[in-house]
């Protein structure tokens, strides 16, 4: 069973709807024993970084330990940003520190938020993007981005006047800055691929 972490931030239901749509068993939960028993974890997030980290509370260390022990984890949007060391959105806040890097504002000189469909160059060694070809558009909605400094992390980029990290993989830790649950068919394929990584595909 996949567990989508429920921690009282906006619109986590959409992620569950999308997994259910592709025939995947999923539960929204903040129960520690369920999280420990899950085949994989999904950390969604529609909120400011500091608010999200605060709302996650003591679950943060549980998720960090499980991810470090190899349980597949998928962070989405702010959930993706929380994989990194820290963010400077409305003050400095510590993240989960699973991937080295910092979350910083998108540089001025372009429309912010970065919102809409942008093309992501898909590395073929990332199983999250299996069956999707070299590039696809995904739906983004954010004003901060993760500046990835982890040499062990594989990054997929989109172009927004600069190379903006759109997705990251480090071992069994995955994250997407874009919203796969709102990215149509290709987004559902990303979720299907994650379910496969978790051994949840049937």
């Amino acid at each position: 069973m996949l567990i989508v972490i429920d921690y009282n931030v906006g619109n986590v239901k959409s992620v569950c709807n999308a997994f259910r749509h592709i025939g995947c068993e999923v539960e929204l939960s903040c129960d520690r024993s369920k999280i420990e028993a899950a085949s994989a974890l999904v950390l969604p997030g529609v909120a400011a970084f500091g608010f999200a980290v605060g709302a996650l509370g003591s679950l943060a260390s549980v998720i960090r330990e499980l991810a470090q022990a190899g349980k597949p984890l998928l962070g989405i949007c702010v959930g993706f940003q929380m994989l990194f060391d820290e963010s400077c959105e409305f003050g400095t806040h510590k993240g989960l520190g699973l991937v080295s890097g910092a979350v910083v504002p998108i540089p001025a000189g372009r429309v912010i938020p970065h919102m809409g469909w942008n093309k992501v160059a898909l590395p073929d060694d990332n199983p999250l993007f299996a069956g999707l070809g070299n590039e696809k558009h995904f739906y983004f909605a954010h004003s901060f981005y993760a500046n990835v400094t982890d040499s062990a992390a594989k990054v997929a980029y989109t172009n927004y006047g600069f190379n903006l990290p759109a997705a990251v993989r480090k071992g069994s830790i995955y994250g997407t800055q874009f919203h796969p649950e709102k990215s149509g068919k290709q987004g559902l394929q990303v979720l299907r691929n994650f379910a496969r990584i978790a051994g949840e595909d049937r």
Binding site: H21, H137, G184, K185
Partner: protein
């Protein structure tokens, strides 16, 4: 670079999708959840659901509808029609909508844009502007409220600028003169608004051919194109629209 967006619009009345000409003579076009799911599958970039009944009673119905749509639609969608408070927006966003659009309520109380932007972020706030060519002044358009039934003295371009300043993240601009005619978007109106604001403008009203879509993007400076008749009644598929725009050098999500 962001792709230009193709946005089918679903006008919902008494639980059914309908489409009229210049806001009247409604034709039935199907079930909103089913039609929405089909567009999501077919590669639409976004959807707009407008509750054109918009009575007190329909409010609860539309919240329920949004919940059902969110189970079947995996692209962003906007909900509008009769939204009069930030609390109502909160309900719709929590039910799964990505954005809310306001028209009449914002004209009556422009502060609602600011309040909504502060609470949800300006990316959730769409200002819907229904504009009609002024009969007395050339190259001027007046804002209409209450589903197009009530003209005001407000200038559409000035109102769009004001709305953006107050917190709208996007303008959904409908030409009432062109709506449902399939004779082309009002390019002059779209360009006047798009050039005056620094937020995306969605052009609406008048799409009839693929060339119309291209023209309002290139000459009208629209970030996104909205259509109803030409797609509900299957004149063109989403894919045909995107193939065409791509063949003419426009970046699309294909």
């Amino acid at each position: 670079m962001l792709a230009r967006r193709i946005i089918p619009c679903l006008d919902v009345k008494d639980g059914r999708v309908v489409k009229g000409v210049k806001f009247v003579n409604l034709r039935d076009a199907g079930d909103p959840v089913e039609l929405g799911a089909r567009y999501s599958e077919d590669g639409a970039d976004e959807l707009v659901f407008l509750d054109i009944t918009a009575t007190i009673r329909s409010r609860k119905t539309i919240v329920e509808l949004v919940g059902k749509v969110a189970e079947k639609v995996f692209i962003p969608f906007t909900v509008g029609g009769g939204i009069s408070s930030v609390e109502h927006m909160d309900q719709l966003l929590r039910s799964g909508a990505e954005k809310c659009s306001v028209n009449t309520a914002a004209v009556a109380n422009p502060d609602i844009l600011t309040q909504a932007a502060q609470r949800f972020g300006n990316q959730c706030v769409v200002l819907a502007v229904d504009a009609r060519r002024s009969k007395t002044r050339a190259s001027h358009w007046q804002v209409c409220v209450k589903a197009g039934t009530e003209p005001t003295d407000i200038d559409a371009v000035e109102w769009a600028v004001e709305g953006a300043k107050r917190g709208a993240g996007e303008i959904l601009l409908t030409s009432m003169d062109a709506d449902g005619t399939q004779a082309g978007y009002d390019i002059e109106l779209t360009r006047a608004v798009a050039d005056a604001v620094n937020i995306p403008v969605i052009a609406s009203g008048g799409a009839g051919t693929l060339q119309h879509l291209y023209d309002v993007i290139v000459a009208g400076h629209a970030e996104a194109v909205l259509m109803a008749s030409i797609t509900h009644f299957e004149n063109y598929t989403i894919n045909q629209m995107k193939e065409y725009l791509r063949s003419r050098g426009i970046a699309v999500n294909l």
